[in-house]
């Protein structure tokens, strides 16, 4: 056994090497290893938290988007309502204006017709008066002069002429 070990160059160096490695192992375990594990754990936690936070924020952003979309839709509807109302009111107003204008024109027309009628009546009354005056005149002429047929004819013609000249 000893001969085999000697021929393989195995001696107490083996023990010393194991001892050395155990020392290194203990040193690394105490000084180095906890830092590595700590940093890796921290990084893992950090990444997990970041992912969770990102997910949360994405959800919030999605909610906000939905909210904004809803509000936009609402304001669009409102705007359409307002425009519809306004156009309805405008039409109403236009109709009112037109009706008012029609009424006004009717009123003006009626008053003009009234004026015309009044003038006409006035003219007729005047004509009557003149006819009466003329009749009186004719009568007086008949009375004062001898009336011939020719004279009568002439008088009637004159009367008609006079009457035709009247503005009617």
């Amino acid at each position: 056994m000893g001969g085999i070990l000697d021929s393989l160059n195995i001696n107490q160096t083996l023990v010393a090497q194991v001892f050395n490695f155990v020392i290194l192992l203990i040193f690394l375990r105490i000084v180095v290893y906890p830092h590595i594990v700590r940093v890796l754990d921290e990084r893992q936690n950090y990444i997990e938290n970041s992912v969770t936070a990102a997910e949360e924020e994405r959800k919030q952003a999605e909610d906000l988007r939905q909210q904004y979309l809803a509000e936009m839709q609402k304001s669009k509807d409102e705007a359409r309502d307002i425009i519809q109302k306004a156009s309805k009111a405008g039409e109403e107003q236009a109709r009112e204006i037109i009706e008012a204008a029609k009424a006004e024109s009717n009123r003006i027309k009626e008053s003009a017709l009234e004026d015309i009628n009044r003038e006409k009546e006035k003219a007729v009354a005047e004509l009557r008066e003149q006819v009466a005056t003329l009749s009186i005149l004719v009568a007086s002429k008949i009375v004062s002069e001898k009336i011939t047929a020719d004279i009568q004819r002439g008088m009637i013609d004159e009367f008609i002429k006079e009457a035709g000249d009247l503005p009617c």
Binding site: N9, V15, L24, V32, I36
Partner: protein
């Protein structure tokens, strides 16, 4: 004829011995010396101390002022190494056992990595190019695996020695004992062969200088040795995880 061959052999051995002698600028003795508790290889011990100091400097400077959001380069290296190893350990051992053994796996990997790479520095030697280091560590892992198996499974741990039948006991024992041997000798063989070839290629420079461009082969081999160093450190760590998981798995 045979005298000429012997002379040639002696000459080539002289070249290797000469290279080793030239590389030994620190004057380490080739023979084991007695430091008070038995014969030891002084060079291996000193190189191990250098590796320990380098590992401590590297890890401490990487973990000092660790940043959460903007990790530095060293910190990132250590973190990535740690996460990679933890992924392996969790895969094979389960989260709980992996977390309790992670410091061992991490220390083992970084120590072996630095050990393997130290041999590539001129005049230095890998502690893992000495069979004492690797066998010591593989035996420690072996003992640890047995202890953890007993711890996690209780007396029923011994049942797997007599499975599937009682007369498989010797085969199982041999299998169990072959694990630390192959575990230790695998990394030793790779790293020691790498170091020997480095010395050989250096010794061959006078011959190859006019044919193969001299040091090019040496440079190629050095760069390959970096790769080998990583791979062997990884394999040793991986096998450690696997042995522990085999001995401590609930369903065996």
């Amino acid at each position: 004829m045979s005298a000429a061959a012997e002379g040639h052999e002696a000459q080539s051995q002289d070249i290797l011995a000469k290279v080793h002698h030239d590389l030994n600028v620190w004057g380490f003795p080739d023979e084991p010396i007695d430091l008070g508790f038995g014969p030891v290889f002084l060079k291996t011990i000193v190189m191990t101390w250098i590796v320990m100091v380098l590992v401590i400097i590297f890890t401490v400077s990487a973990t000092r002022n660790m940043q959460l959001k903007r990790p530095g380069k060293l910190q990132l290296m250590v973190e990535e190494m740690f996460l990679f190893l933890r992924g392996l350990a969790v895969e094979n051992l389960g989260t709980k056992k992996a977390n309790s053994l992670m410091f061992l796996v991490f220390s083992l990997f970084i120590y072996l990595l630095f050990s393997n790479l130290l041999g590539l520095v001129p005049t230095m030697m890998s502690p893992t190019a000495d069979v004492n280091t690797t066998l010591g560590m593989s035996l420690s892992v072996f003992i640890l695996a047995q202890v953890l198996g007993l711890y996690y499974k209780g007396p029923s741990y011994f049942k797997h020695f007599v499975q599937p039948f009682v007369f498989f006991l010797p085969i199982n024992i041999v299998e169990e004992l072959s694990k630390p041997l192959t575990h230790g000798f695998r990394i030793f063989g790779n790293i020691y062969a790498g170091e020997v070839l480095i010395a050989v290629l250096l010794g061959l420079i006078p011959i190859t200088a006019t044919i193969f461009g001299g040091f090019i082969a040496s440079v190629v081999w050095l760069s390959f040795s970096i790769f080998v160093g990583f791979v062997q450190a990884f394999i040793f760590t991986m096998l450690t995880i696997v042995y522990i998981s085999m001995s401590s798995a609930e369903s065996h």
